[in-house]
Each structure stands twice: as structure tokens, then as C-alpha cells.
Amino acid sequence: MKKLAVVAHANDNVATAVKDLKEGQEVMVDVDGKEVKVKLLNDVLFGHKFALKDISKGENIIKYSEVIGKATQLIKMGEHVHVHNIESVRGRGDWEGDS
């Protein structure tokens, strides 16, 4: 069977869908040789990410074993992870002047 989602590194807390996936779908992902079952809380389109575990507000989002941003709200395991619930911490001219 073709893969439904890939995890770039064992330290990651997100996976990337490689098919269009549906809310409620149970997806088996391979995390460093270990099979992990994730039930999706939203539709997740090809190329988009979902959470492999609960991620609290302000916590780092990890992909490729590196920080790609931080959560702006609580993200539940299986939830779609994208611009609506994570943000960049780099190139933020809109933060200049904030203390």
C-alpha cells in the first residue's frame, strides 16, 4: 500500500500528508520505524501537515528535527497544522517595537 503521510525525522511533532486525507480517517505513520496511528480531526490535503501529538500554545513545531514555528493555540493530535494555528518567529517586521 502506498504511504498516506510521511514524517521527516523521529523528533518531529508533525507529519506531512502525501494523499488528500479526510476528517475521521485513521492514518498509520512510520516514525523512525515505529508505526503510530493518528485519527484525523480535520481534512488534510496533500502536502499539508497534521499533529502527531497534542501541542500546547507557544510550543515549538518540529519538522526535519528543527523548529519551523510555534503554536498560536492548543493543537490536538490529528489536527491540521498550518498558518491558522502556527506562526513564524523569523522575519517579523510586525513585531518590531514590541517589547
Partner: protein
Amino acid sequence: MKILGFVRPDGRVGIRNHIAVIPSSVCASEVAMRIASSVEGAVAIPNQHGCCQIGADLELTTDTLIGLGKNPNVAAVVVVGLGCEGVPTEKIAEEIAQTGKRVEYVIIQECGGTLKAEERGTSIAKQMVQEVAKLQREKVDISNLILAVECGGSDTTSGLASNPVAGYVSDKLIELGGTSMFSETTEIIGAEHLLAKRAVSKKVGDKLLEIVRRCEEKAKTMGVDMRGGQPTPGNIEGGISTIEEKSLGCIYKGGTKPLQGVLEYAEAPTGKGLYVMDTPGQDIESITGMTAGGAQIVIFTTGRGTPTGAPIAPVIKITGNPNTFAKMKENIDFNASAIIEGTETIKEVGEKLFSEMIEVANGKLTKAEALKHREFGIYKLISTF
């Protein structure tokens, strides 16, 4: 390993045999285009620069035009000037001529207008084309090759499939004695610590961190969140959420070899191995910089799909997104989606891409070349005056 190339008088090796018609300013661009359109094998490099630029910007345009003329894919050059522009037409011609290739120049104001300049330029270009057509490809070592790796229209498959595959090819070329460069400083933001660790010296590592800091500061002076510009709306639709995510995926295209140096825009590497060039993330300006720095061949990874080519170098486009390959087959040369589908490894796909690169170096036309895609743009630091 050997490739088939054209050995130039300065010993550098071209894999194409173009006549470049280079306008030294925007004011000469139309005449340059008309000359090139009349002559088989001639390519114009029309641009909107070359006049009313000052300081570093003026130098950048001048160096870029000289670098493109010097690129060994160019067999001979006609420089076209208006006669009163800031970028000196004669200087460009003289600098390029140091490579030993034939270079002539035509000044519109001296010739007495469009038609006379066009006639003179066309006549010269026609002679040049006939001359260089006699040159034969020779067997030369692959270490003569300078590869430029570019990514554009990225989505999350870029970081997971096409960029690692391009990185594999870059590594292999370097192992065989060649040179590879990648660029797009904006798309190193968030991944600079990983690249800096690979620098051969503290000086090189510090320079890398400095160009990234400079780029991020420039974005911040706009007073906005970079998001929307970088990642682009298309990147975001494709699943990339932040510039850090984009960058971490992007740097895979630079493979795993030590970083030998950080180049200024359009600067040629002085040694072999891996280099980073300081360019914007905008694809066309980035490719221009790297070909002006001497790259003879480009591998361009894309997730969303792009038709981009370049005037003087073949651009091999690859995607790791199976939907994009199916949809944009007329533009994309190579399908790396077996990685995403889990049916082939990065090494297996990388070997195939390496073979494709050799074929293109030996003369196979890329889809962008066949469709005459010759996108061109020069990076600009500030406004004209």
C-alpha cells in the same frame, strides 16, 4: 567521468554554443532583441537596468552583464549600447573579451539610430554564428561543470523529495571534482545554523550568517510579517506554513558537502566544491546571478510547477509532486515523486537525475530550451535615480 563540451580559449568549458546579444542598458534592449531575433543561435538578454543606477547597484548590473558574457556557454558576444548610459558598453565588451572569445560592440547613437545599429549588429552576429557552428564538442572531465541548484514554486514535496534528490546530484558532482552552488538567501532564514556548521572555516560560516541577518533585517524594515511574500501564497496553499519550514526544506538542495565559500551576487567561485551565492529568493534573479557566476547548467526543483528557463544555460526542472508532474508535463523534465509514494529511494532517483544532467550537458535540450523559455531578471538593490 567525461562530458562533451566546447573548450573556450580560456580553458573553460561550455555545454552550449550561444551568441549572446547583451544590451548594456534598458535603452538598448529593443535593438538587442531585434538583432537576436534575426539570427539563428543568438540570444538577447534584454533587461531594465544599466542607466541611472548608482554605486553598488551600478556595479552589480555591470558585473552581472560581464559575468553572463564570460560564461563559457557563450561562444561570442555582441554588446549593444545606446551611447549615454551609466554602464559603459566598451568596458563590458573589453572585460568579456579577456576570456579570448570574440566580442564586438555596437553603439546606437554612433550608428545613427535603430535600423543602422540593427543592421550592423545583425551582420556581426550572423558572422559569429557561422564561425562558432564549426566548433566541435570534445571529451572533457566532468570537473569542469558548475551546477546551479534552484528551487521555486515550492510545496512540502520540495523539502521531502525534489530538493534532497538535487542535493544528491550536487554531492555526486562534487565527489567527481566539480562545483555546485545554490542561492536564495531569504530561503536560508531559519536554517542558517545548519549550513554555518558545514562551513570550511569560521570566516565562511560568519559570512553566511551575516548575509542571512542582512536579508532578514531588510525584510523587517518593511514593518510587516514576511509571510505572504515569503512563503508565497502558492507555497502556503501547497502546505508550507512558515519561512523556517520553507528554508529547512530548501537547503536540502545544497546536499551535504562542506561549504567552501559565500559568493556575492554574480561572483564566480574560485575553487571547487559547494558554494552559496547571496541572491534574493526570486527564482529568475537568482538564476541570473548564478549563471553570471559561471554556472553552465541549472537544476530547478519545483512543487507547484513552473515553466522557467534561462537565456544561456539549460534548466532541468524536476518535481516531487506527482500531481504537478501529471499536470505540467510539458514544462517539467524529471519526475521525482516515487520518493513521496515510497516506491524509490532518494539515491535511486538521484542516480537517474544525475544521468539526465549528463545527457543535458552533452547536448540534450531541456523542455525550457525547446520552448524557448529565456526568463531573465537582474537583482536590484535600490531604486533608479
